[in-house]
């Protein structure tokens, strides 16, 4: 065989080039022309954040039908990021390579930051369902929007709620201790607390902030330390399993604060918490965003959720389920308006979001130039009869707050 047989003419090179370019551009063209928005939902379905991740996942599972009824066409791909930012990063790459038009996730700030870097490189929009670390919207990401308060916003709103609780119950706490998980979320909350508590005007002294390892076997040492400080209020930022350990060790060590209040963190209102502690789970308060029971979208979601997930209570899960659903609806809405799945155009539509009807309380969903929704208020949710119950603000409350909480012993 002569080498001349492999000579390339100018025409064949051009044809080959065009074919190659077409091949390379094919996923982009397919992406831009798709009739349905393909969303990769990355959540920590396993690992130490699995409990909350699966709660969000259940929300994502029921979302397509509800969104379809509302006129949004989405197709979801469910991906486990294993509570591991490295896995989140590689799974995001994989999801985009396999045709995901946008990403929703990822409950955990560290994982979400890893995803954001990939989305930025690949120009694929990321909609943060839950993730409070301020840097998510402070690092200049152009392909990210967040429909969740920052740690600072959560703390600020939470401190307002604590003042409202003091006013409503006429208690007079003189001191508090702030106990927080030593992870991205907990540290963001700590930063917010350090910055905002001195300016809050709350009538008590913050004696100490104590970080704890969220993977600790128990919190007996932490509680012993708190008992030594003897604060009136215990302000906590926990995850589900840690909140159980905290209350259990507090009861065992016969430490009786006026109240245990979370300025916006999971743990105190999880089903796992109620099951583990029974009556001892009652009267703890979480100041955090909550589902708006009067919203039609909430009602539709609750109906679908109750049917699809009969083993789980919407009242308990509505925080994770609601924020995840809203993130998916934001994506569906942007796709409907943009009419394309092209990343930059979809992102432009996302930035122009103005969604009045949604699940979580607050005004219309809008994003500032950094991609942050700044209008996500908190409510005071107190555990009553082992159900999270809104006790403040009064206009949406179904019960009045009880503080100081009744003694542990009388509840057994």
């Amino acid at each position: 065989m002569s080498i001349d047989q492999f000579k390339f003419s100018r025409r064949s090179v051009l044809a080959g080039g065009v074919a190659g370019a077409a091949l390379l551009a094919a996923p982009g063209i397919v992406r831009a022309q798709a009739q349905t928005l393909k969303i990769a939902v990355l959540l920590p379905q396993s690992g130490y954040l699995a409990q909350a991740g699966q709660s969000c996942h259940r929300g994502a599972l029921v979302a397509p039908q509800v969104l379809s009824d509302l006129g949004y066409k989405v197709e979801l791909v469910h991906i486990d990021m294993e509570s591991n930012p490295d896995v989140a990063r590689t799974q995001t790459e994989r999801a985009i390579n396999e045709g995901a038009h946008c990403i929703v996730g990822a409950f955990d700030s560290a994982g979400t930051l890893a995803i954001a870097q990939v989305c930025e490189q690949r120009q694929v929009p990321l909609i943060v369902n839950i993730g409070a670390a301020p840097q998510l919207t402070e690092q200049g990401y152009k392909f990210l929007v967040r429909n969740f308060p920052t740690g600072g916003m959560l703390v600020k709103n939470g401190l307002h709620q604590i003042q409202a609780l003091i006013d409503a119950t006429k208690i007079a706490p003189k001191s508090a201790v702030f106990l927080h998980a030593n992870d991205n979320f907990g540290l963001a909350q700590r930063k917010g607390m350090d910055a905002l508590f001195p300016k809050s005007g709350l009538p008590f002294k913050l004696l100490e902030s104590i970080p704890y390892d969220p993977k600790a076997q128990d919190l007996s040492v932490e509680v012993t330390k708190i008992r030594g400080l003897n604060p009136d209020l215990l302000l906590v930022v926990t995850r589900a399993a840690d909140a159980i350990k905290l209350v259990r060790d507090t009861v065992r060590q016969k430490f009786q604060p006026m109240g245990i209040i979370s300025p916006g963190a999971p743990g105190l209102y999880d089903e796992e918490f109620y099951k583990a502690l029974g009556p001892l789970a009652d009267y703890h308060i979480d100041a955090l965003p909550w589902a708006n029971p009067k919203s039609k979208v909430t009602q539709a979601l609750e109906a679908a959720y109750t049917k699809a997930q009969p083993k789980f209570r919407f009242a308990v899960e509505c925080f994770n389920v609601g924020f995840t659903f809203d993130a998916l609806m934001i994506a569906g809405d942007a796709f409907k308006r943009a009419g394309t799945t092209n990343g930059p155009e979809l992102m432009k539509a996302l930035k122009d979001t103005n969604l009045a009807d949604h699940v979580m309380i607050g005004g219309p969903i809008k994003f500032d130039e950094k991609g942050q929704n700044n209008d996500i208020p908190s409510a005071s949710v107190q555990n009553r009869n082992q159900t999270p119950t809104v006790v403040l603000p009064a206009e949406v409350a179904t019960m009045t707050p009880v503080l100081p909480m009744p003694p542990w012993q009388g509840r057994k």
Binding site: Q51, Q217, D218, T224, A240, V251, A276
Partner: protein
Amino acid sequence: MTAITLNIVVQGILTGLVYGLMALGLSVIFGVMRVVNFAHGEFTVVAMYAAFLLFDMLGVSPLVSLLPIAVAFFFLGYVLQRSLVEPFISRAEHEQFILLVGLATVVVNGLLLIFGPDAHPINLPYSFDSYTVGSLFIDKVRVFAALGAFAICIALFLFFRYTRTGTAIRACADNLTGAGVVGLNVKQLYAVTFGLGFACIGAAGTLMATIADASPGLAPAYTLLAFVIVIIGGLGSMAGALVGGVLIGISEALAGFYIQPSMKSMFSFALLIIVLVLRPQGLMGRRL
């Protein structure tokens, strides 16, 4: 020593005894067979779930289910050794490692599939009670768990010291060739040893279920913890596992109180590094 410090030390000792029992299973298996069980924490969590199920479905207290679970785990370990581990005994260490890590992955994901990620607590009538001794508050469950762990360790020590099977197993550990020459059935003894290691895991998991909630996420942490304890105490040393457990329990508690709770684990590893540098065979281990 202030009352609070004393309280912390007592809690650390009690937790450490249970840690010690958990690590004992790892130490026994390695001491005799030179096989490192990388699925150790995973099976500890399986035992926690077994205790949870017996309590939840039949109302059996873990202090009662301790014995049947330990016996069941003995047979589980025996069967696992004969069917899965035995073919790997003479193979390279990395092949044993892959086998047991694979087994660990299967177990932890199986637990996740069956039970989900939620923590499953055992709420005993005295779960929230504590003994008040002066200004000390000592958890009842922790006292019971520690006493149970200590009693099992003593029983195991007596077994290895005074029974014919125990002596034969020690002979295998000391001189495998010699044990074979005098006619000991090494394969059978290895399976019994693996079973005993698993019985320790079963007992430790059952006791652990009274002080921590069963959850698949605990498994890798327990494996790591057991390794730290046996390396500090001396791989293969029974007393070393107990001493290592108590040392870890106390050091974590004191570091958590005086320095920072979130740095508790760091001190376990600091202790591990110090021991590895100054006494690589562990506090009570023999120099190889």
